[in-house]
């Protein structure tokens, strides 16, 4: 009866189904404490990993949303600093935020920031490394922290308006337009940079291992030197 596997199956199921009225009152209280502690840990991790979404929705609405996400997609491993994969997709289905479709984009960007923060270390390629002639057959390797995407909302500007060095009214000055965003970690801090949308195809080509001469064709019609300079300055390559 007290076989460990059977006990864990029953206890885990009781926590998961939020059984409010088990026959044993003391056991019910303990289950409630463990359920609360475990759910709060997941919610706190989401709050840490999605501070801009949290600021945009307000604390109360975020807590309710985080609780719903933790229930739908609980942590699968102990590293809660990496918890929150899929939160952006969850937000598209979360009815209370249906009027805020751009929250999904912000959540996607914040997820990239978390991934960038804990990605492997590598020295970022800088302008000096490329001072000489670059062979068109060379392949540029993305830095392990580099993430990028194009969105219908101004994600990079919204994110930057929430950083400590932004002014209090920075969010009011964000122009509502599509933005492509680049997430990098050239030194100790994660950077979010707005990039020319054509750079996205170029970064995809580099990620796919295309030689520079081929990858650069994606930039046809753009300011190639400017785009390239932005990517190098941000530390997109290793």
């Amino acid at each position: 009866m007290h076989d460990l596997a059977a006990f864990q199956r029953a206890f885990g199921a009781a926590i998961a189904r939020n059984d409010q009225s088990p026959r044993d009152r003391a056991l019910g209280r303990a289950l409630a404490i463990h359920r609360n502690t475990s759910a709060k840990a997941g919610q706190d991790a989401l709050a840490d990993n999605f501070p801009v979404v949290r600021a945009l929705t307000g604390e109360q609405a975020f807590v309710a949303c985080a609780a719903a996400f933790v229930e739908a997609d609980p942590p699968r491993e102990a590293r809660l600093c990496l918890y929150g994969e899929g939160f952006d997709a969850f937000l598209t289905r979360y009815a209370p935020f249906a009027q805020l479709p751009w929250l999904t984009d912000v959540a996607w960007l914040e997820r990239c920031v978390v991934e960038a923060l804990f990605a492997a270390d590598a020295r970022a390629l800088n302008g000096g490394d490329l001072a000489g002639a670059i062979e068109t057959s060379a392949v540029l390797r993305l830095h392990p922290a580099t993430r990028f995407g194009a969105f219908r909302s101004p994600v990079a500007s919204i994110w930057r308006a929430h950083q400590p060095d932004a002014g209090e009214d920075a969010l009011d000055h964000v122009g509502w337009r599509p933005e492509a965003a680049l997430v990098t970690r050239p030194l100790a801090e994660v950077l979010v940079t707005e990039i020319d949308p054509r750079a996205i195809a170029f970064l995809h080509a580099c990620a796919a291992g295309k030689p520079l001469g081929v990858a650069v064709e994606t930039l046809a019609g753009g300011e190639v030197a400017d785009i390239f300079s932005t990517l190098i300055t941000a530390g997109a390559f290793a």
Partner: protein, 277 residues
């Protein structure tokens, strides 16, 4: 052994930690926060390690699970331990994993002889992966489960005897368990063999505001309570000084406030007179 007092590493205090020169000061980190590929957090830990000893406290090996510790997690922990050479590596007498879900808490189980075999197997797997003994901590208990065959003290003592692991005695957890379940914390404390105890934890707790104010919850959100300090003094008078950690994970005060609390443990450790000596 570094038989002095340490603090949990809080990154918001990093600058003060890096300049602090207090004798014997060491820092403990939760392993899972650092089991990552790279980045500034690992770099900060390396900077702390250059100046102070550190201890690695895991909160996720799920030692009391029927399934053995996840090999990928063990590998990451082994890498961390190899890189930072901590004074101690520890986890809890509890489980977290069930059906693919990780419950970020320390869940209880009936302490049967069969469970002892399972936990001992898991502890041995961890020790083999790390090539060193670990310490196993008593968790806070909120219910007296039916089906226990062994007391916590006997279970832990037997686990240490079988696996060669040491024990991390969390005096606050013991106080909470005793209060919630209804046994004498002092009597239970006296049963744990001193030579197995490799580290001591001290932390604050709160009465449960929502469910039942008679229940104490292990929140790590307040200063260490006086009855916990009394138990601590009783313990070190019996077993002698041990590395002692002041844990604080919620409502984190200024570094100086934590250092004042740490000084109390440091001073007690410095003037221990063994009662049996």
């Amino acid at each position: 052994m570094t038989c002095t007092a340490g603090l949990g590493l809080k990154t918001q205090h990093l600058d003060e930690i890096l300049t602090s020169r207090d004798p014997g000061l060491w820092f403990e980190v939760h392993a899972e926060n650092y089991m990552v590929d790279g980045g500034p957090r690992l770099a900060a830990l390396a900077a702390v390690r250059d100046r102070h000893p550190i201890s690695i406290h895991s909160v996720g090996l799920s030692l009391a699970s029927v399934e053995p510790p996840d090999p990928a997690s063990l590998r990451r922990l082994a890498d961390l331990v190899a890189r930072f050479e901590p004074i101690a590596v520890s986890d809890h007498l509890a489980w977290q994993k069930w059906n693919g879900v990780h419950h970020a808490d320390f869940l209880p189980f009936p302490r049967t002889r069969a469970a002892l075999e399972t936990v001992a197997d898991n502890v041995q797997r961890v020790q083999e992966a790390l090539s060193r003994p670990i310490l196993v901590e008593n968790p806070s208990l909120y219910v007296d489960l039916p089906g226990h065959e062994l007391s916590e003290a006997v279970f832990l003592t037997e686990l240490a005897r079988r696996t060669g692991c040491g024990l991390l005695l969390d005096v606050n957890n013991l106080y909470i368990s005793a209060s919630n379940i209804g046994f004498s914390a002092a009597a239970a404390l006296d049963l744990i063999p001193g030579d197995a105890i490799g580290e001591i934890h001290l932390a604050g707790h709160d009465a449960d505001p929502a469910l039942d104010s008679r229940l104490l919850i292990d929140t790590h959100g307040t200063a260490v309570a006086e009855p916990v300090w009394e138990l601590y003094e009783r313990l070190i008078a019996r077993i002698g000084p041990r590395p002692t950690l002041i844990e604080r994970d919620d409502r984190i005060p200024a570094f100086a406030t934590l250092m004042t609390e740490r000084a109390r443990a440091h001073n007690l450790l410095g003037r221990v007179v063994l009662t049996d000596a």
